[in-house]
């Protein structure tokens, strides 16, 4: 385990020998899947905690939050309709406005009551358990979506790497590029800092720090991906960069082409009718 963590740490530092060690590991594809899953689950821990706190909240607390939200919206509506400085008293029919406001207020009050009643309807399982299941489902779904993204993008990059003269077997290539996920562990620090952005004075600074950390993690991720493509396929860095950026460009061009054909077809149909 210590060996594995050491290798992963060295890949983040772009150590050539670490990439070669990883490439020679047995069951590289399975390792890649596990690496993506574990890192994705770790980086979304803060979001999981937040979801858990939201979903297991007692019904009364949810109801009072809904109440507060509707009251704030009503107050904002009142301000917008009557107290805007740019509306002169002559420019608006006060009576009509008040009638409209009354109707809107009644509708919003009924909506508020409705939302509160819905929030109080319980599932057969206790709210704590059903809330935990919801948060767990969302947490695991996010990690599985990361696996989909890794496979889909990896396949497209491998196609372009092959076209550029590189070569690698699909499972080995995917296992190799899975290393890109390691720098995103920094995202956990960013997400944690993001929790404190509502603090006066310190909040904006922490928010900025979280943004900078996220940006560093993103750039680092790209660098590790390029290095992994280069080691896996034998391409030089320039071609590895090209293979990595080619898929979004190709998909964009394909999208444009389909949109163009679509417009031509609409024009033909419009001409006919």
């Amino acid at each position: 385990m210590g060996n594995l963590l050491n290798t992963l740490f060295r890949t983040v530092l772009l150590d050539d020998s670490a990439y070669l060690d990883w490439r020679e590991s047995p069951n590289l594809f399975l390792r890649g899947i596990l690496l993506i899953l574990v890192v994705s689950l770790i980086t979304s821990l803060v979001a999981f905690g937040r979801d858990l706190a939201t979903f297991v909240k007692p019904a009364d607390m949810v109801a009072s939050e809904i109440e507060a939200g509707f009251d704030a919206a009503l107050e904002a509506m009142q301000t917008f309709m009557f107290d805007m400085p740019f509306w002169s008293p002559d420019a608006v029919d006060r009576q009509e406005m008040e009638k409209a406001m009354e109707m809107a207020r009644d509708s919003m009050q009924a909506s508020r009551e409705m939302a509160i009643q819905i929030a109080k309807i319980d599932a057969p399982l206790p709210r704590g358990i059903s809330g935990f299941l919801q948060a767990l489902g969302r947490w695991l779904s996010g990690a599985l979506a990361s696996v989909s993204g890794w496979i889909f993008y990896g396949v497209l990059v491998l196609i372009f790497a092959n076209l550029l003269g590189g070569g690698a077997k699909l499972p080995n290539f995917l296992g190799m590029v899975s290393l890109y996920v390691v720098p995103s562990l920094l995202g956990l620090v960013g997400a944690f800092l993001g929790l404190w952005t509502s603090i006066t004075f310190l909040g904006p600074i922490l928010g900025l720090l979280a943004f900078v950390i996220g940006l560093v993690a993103f750039v680092w991720t790209i660098v590790v991906y390029v290095k992994a493509v280069s080691v896996a396929t034998g391409l030089d860095t320039g071609k590895a960069v090209l293979a990595m950026i080619a898929p979004p460009i190709a998909l964009f061009v394909l999208g444009l082409l389909i949109a163009f054909l679509w417009f031509i077809w609409i024009a033909i149909l419009a001409g006919l009718s």
Binding site: F29, I118, I129, Q134, L140, L144, A145, L170
Partner: protein
């Protein structure tokens, strides 16, 4: 029982894109029979665990009938409801009909827990769906693979393509409510089909990609042509 365990082991290796698994299936004595066993076993396991998932999802979802009743009750208390009733006395009855119809389809469309009947019927429907898809895709993939210079026969092609059902095993996670797999199963299945066609037909990577994707492209093109002809006919009729 050994046959089932062996099929599942083969499916696991195929899921991990091990060429050896596809090669073993290609040279197997009865690749179609072996593939069929794998598909049925995977389909039944998914459906059985899906029943647990449905039960847990039902138990953790508020009663939709009660929600429907609350929403309707409060809608009738809103000012616009009284205005509409004044304008048209039949409004309440018409609204009720549309309301009931919407609620009969909306929960299913928005992913509400399926009924016990549906979950149980899946024990038959899921394997059946997988088999139909396997055979249809197998026929098209075989034609394109041979056209591109492939060497495997039809039964070998069906055998290796049965291994493309391996990612469906991920659906066993369906016993956890609120978990969505998104496009993971589809993407992974296409990769397994690619590996199968490449190994069985001894194609290059480029040929294998075309053999894998051409069946999808053909179906998409068919849908596109039908849509174009339909819209053309509609435009001509309106014009």
């Amino acid at each position: 029982m050994d046959g089932i365990a062996d099929s599942l082991r083969l499916g696991w290796d195929a899921l991990l894109l091990k060429e050896d698994a596809y090669e073993r299936m290609r040279v197997a004595a009865e690749p179609v029979g072996k593939g069929l066993v794998l598909i049925i076993v995977v389909g039944v396991i998914i459906a059985l665990l899906g029943v647990i998932g449905t039960a847990l999802e039902w138990a953790s979802t508020p009663d939709l009938g009660e929600i429907q009743e609350v929403v309707f009750r409060y809608l009738t208390q809103m000012p616009w409801w009284q205005e509409a009733l004044r304008a048209d006395p039949a409004f309440a009855q018409n609204f009720q009909e549309i309301w009931d119809w919407n609620w009969s389809i909306w929960p299913t469309v928005s992913g509400a827990p399926s009924t016990w009947g549906c979950a149980a019927a899946n024990i038959i429907i899921v394997p059946l769906k997988l088999i139909v898809y396997w055979v249809l895709y197998g026929i098209l993939a075989y034609i394109f693979a041979r056209w591109l210079g492939g060497t495997a026969d039809f039964s070998q092609t069906l055998g290796v393509l049965a291994l493309a059902v391996a990612p469906q095993m991920l659906n066993v996670l369906g016993f956890l409510p609120y978990l969505t797999l998104g496009s993971l199963v589809s993407i992974w299945s296409v990769l397994c089909a690619y590996m199968g066609l490449k190994v069985a037909h001894k194609l290059t990577w480029g040929e294998a990609i075309w053999a894998t994707l051409l069946p999808f492209i053909l179906v998409l093109a068919g849908v596109f042509v039908v849509a174009c002809c339909g819209s053309l006919a509609l435009a001509a009729a309106i014009g």
